[in-house]
Symmetry: C2
């Protein structure tokens, strides 16, 4: 693909700003038609899209079909959200002209879009976190035009999805350039997109080094802008003693599957497990090892990811005290990843920061703590995460309640007796954790609240009713939920 | 005051983290008692507090009494908010165990506190934006302990207010060190507070250079944290032709008062006015000048601010094309500020970035635009602002509707036919504008939504009901508003 010059990138962003002046005036019902139309056009691409993605990502057909479904579902959830309209957090405080000592003005507030948003597609989700993924869907729902930087690992898939968005743009009469698709595979191209004065926010899913670089560019601009970068996670799983006693084998089954799902290429992959030393933990390690050995190596998304897996796995295995507990019995072919389980004692884990680095792929490290103090100390060494999981019987959960509260400080989602993989798309999902899991733990990149990343509040003081946006007009013509003189209702 | 060492500062922050582990468990009703008790204890200080503040700030008694009232009102508004409890944005999606192809888990989400917050007191509001001001009140309401850096311009006033908070802490049984008061007048002290690994967010009101420095320290930490810095604003006022024709003199009255209120020491002071060249604009300038000349110089908050005003005013007057249109007839005594109105043609304004710099004090610059294009070009030169004001008759507002929409992109609040000074404390107030007015336009530092600065969402997946916070338990024991399976209600 031809690399764009910095001048061309700034022109693209300028066109995005011009589109913004029109698009921010578009009503919620019209934005809903647009988002639904994108979903329909993606579905209309049929098997061509799936086959193109299979060719570029090595992901199997069923997984890609499922991901396409999720992507269209997301678009439709945002369509429903903006059609309903209540998401703007309208607040109204009416005037009290005769208040002493000073009259109270009429004040009304709602969320308005930030402006042009740059989205970097992710390699591991060619649909759900890429071209028409949640970043694009939520930015368009918010009223922000999108400039999408295609992921160089699946440029043709990205082109196909972009063509669907362009069709929907025309069909529903949206402003020209409300969505633009660019190929700038180089690092410099991404930098220029973030540094353009027209860019008002950035969405990214990928590596720590990539996300942190974009964050630094954005915060060091003359006018800093927000970057929502999801940068990976090792998603610690704490396996408590009671559970190991009664259902160790079941837990091993569940985790052999979770660690290796999609060749371990999920940001919520459980890359770290921790338990208290006991005969039951030894037995669990053996059971999990036996199950993981049977899981054949899988082909990774692209050669770069496969090479990184190989390198990071070898680095982890070379650390002091780390033992290989299990690996796929079958040999790995080119670009395939060997399913791997390693173990280490907490005493070694505590002094080696390398062991909390992500090994992106079908890999997990099991830490054996000598006692609860070592378990707590191990938790202290784990940086911010997307998720943490607690496996425990009812009495475990009571006994370790204080510990679970400490875990909550580190993460964006806590799962009890489940697996972290499988991120449900719904309003109560929070997909975002303390740094370095993401650059901003206060915002989610999954679920309808993702729209909040691309808006800011604007207050309207003493406006004539006719000049107010419909959301704030006295008669509530859209029938949305509003906080009206401090009472929530549809008044 | 004795300067703290970096080690002592880190100890203070460590104590704050220890307090956090207890304080984050405190229920909303108990936090409400605490906040109400702080208000009561401040009121109990009576005239001692007012007299101490008068001595340290040169502000008059009535203004300080009013500001104390506002401060206690703010504390009580946050108390009511956390007592009600609905602010946590609870979302609940119940499980669908038999969903195909995969079961849906039970997911629940609410806002939780970030952790220890560092607050820098402001010089221009010794109560409302200082020791027990909105930053402290909203952080404590959120469940975050506060470390307050006393403003060196009013350390004794700050000590008195801190003693009230400490009394309230004891009386209501809050954790030790939930509030700590430190004097670290040096730049290095502030830096160490922001850089401590225990600090999770920062609130600041003051100069651009101060706020931007804190922002840079925070974003360049190994784990970046949010900084909410309000850094000043020139709050442009656009005076449209129709209004000048029918009520120029009334507008001049209103603005002579607004520009000079509290010796111009408000962050919403109207430091810039813009209009279209016409006989009416000339007459308005003359009328405003006559009124401003009569306003005697006032004593500023402290000698540093008075010296800065003198320097910045002289710098502005030395710029090409800038004329002195009015200044106080009375001479200025030591530390007093001369009321000043300057004028400039848009052609000079457009090419001189110095003219959008804030002159903090009783000063305003009036820009004469030759036509609407010059007015639009002038708007383009104005960076992000807290507020903008439009003075216009109904036909002005219709004729300039597109222009008003452009104005909205630049600011956090738009006022029609009023003045920007006088920031109402209510849910629909947004006090925060695009950079450089604040470091984060997405959050307010006035009104109950200020609590959102110090929280993040946390998802609970498949939790037993008894382990959930009360806000998310199935029976809704607190009776709060929740989004339950996508329906807002008190279910």
């Amino acid at each position: 693909m031809k690399e764009l010059t910095t001048k061309e990138i700034d022109d693209v962003m300028k066109q995005s700003q011009e589109a913004f002046l029109l698009y921010r005036q578009v009503q919620g019902t019209a934005k809903a038609l647009f988002l639904n139309s994108i979903a329909e056009e993606i579905e209309s691409l049929g098997s061509d899209l799936i086959h193109q993605a299979m060719e570029e990502t090595n992901l199997p057909e069923a997984r890609l079909a499922g991901e396409r479904g999720r992507t269209c579902n997301q678009l439709r959830q945002f369509a429903a959200l903006v059609k309903d309209g209540s998401w703007v957090e309208a607040r109204i405080d009416t005037a009290i002209p005769d208040r002493a000592p000073l009259p109270k003005p009429d004040l009304r507030k709602m969320m308005v879009p930030l402006g042009p948003v740059v989205v970097f597609g992710a390699s591991n989700f060619p649909f759900a976190y890429s071209t028409a993924g949640v970043d694009t869907a939520s930015a368009l729902a918010a009223g922000c035009p999108v400039v999408l930087k295609a992921h160089p690992a699946h440029p043709k898939t990205s082109e196909l999805v972009a063509s669907a968005i362009e069709k929907a743009t025309t069909k529903t009469g949206m402003p020209k350039n409300v969505f633009q698709h660019v190929h700038t595979p180089s690092f410099e191209g991404g930098k220029a997109l973030v540094q353009s004065s027209f860019t008002k926010a950035v969405g990214f899913t990928g590596s720590f080094s990539g996300g942190k670089a974009l964050y630094d560019y954005a915060t060091q601009r003359p006018d800093p802008i927000p970057v929502f970068a999801e940068m990976g996670s090792i998603n610690p799983v704490f396996i408590l003693p009671g559970a190991l006693k009664v259902r160790g084998e079941k837990v091993a089954d569940m985790y052999a599957a979770s660690i290796t799902q999609s060749v371990g290429q999920f940001c919520t992959n459980p890359g770290l497990m921790l338990g208290l030393k006991s005969p039951e933990l030894s037995q669990f390690t053996m059971q999990l090892s036996q199950k993981m050995e049977k899981i054949a190596p899988g082909t990774m998304l692209h050669p770069g990811i496969a090479a990184n897996y190989k390198k990071n796995r070898e680095k982890a295995l070379a650390q002091k005290g780390v033992s290989l507990s299990a690996q796929s019995t079958d040999a790995a072919k080119e670009n395939q990843a060997i399913t791997t389980l390693t173990t280490v004692d907490a005493s070694d884990f505590l002094v080696n920061p390398t062991l909390v680095e992500e090994v992106f792929g079908p890999y997990s490290l099991l830490v054996r703590a000598g006692n609860i103090d070592e378990l707590k100390a191990s938790l202290d060494k784990i940086p911010g995460q997307l998720t943490a999981t607690i496996i425990g019987e009812e009495e475990d959960l009571i006994e370790y309640a204080d510990f679970i509260r400490l875990v909550m400080q580190k993460v964006g989602r806590v799962i009890i007796n489940g697996v972290p993989t499988g991120v449900e798309v719904c309003p109560s999902m929070h997909h975002g954790g303390p740094f370095p899991a993401t650059t901003d733990s206060r915002f989610t990149s999954v679920g309808t609240d993702a729209i909040k990343r691309f808006v800011r509040p604007l207050s309207f003081q003493n406006f004539p009713d006719t000049l107010l946006p419909a959301e704030l007009q006295q008669s509530n013509p859209l029938g949305i939920w509003r906080l009206f003189n401090n009472e929530l209702g549809k008044k």
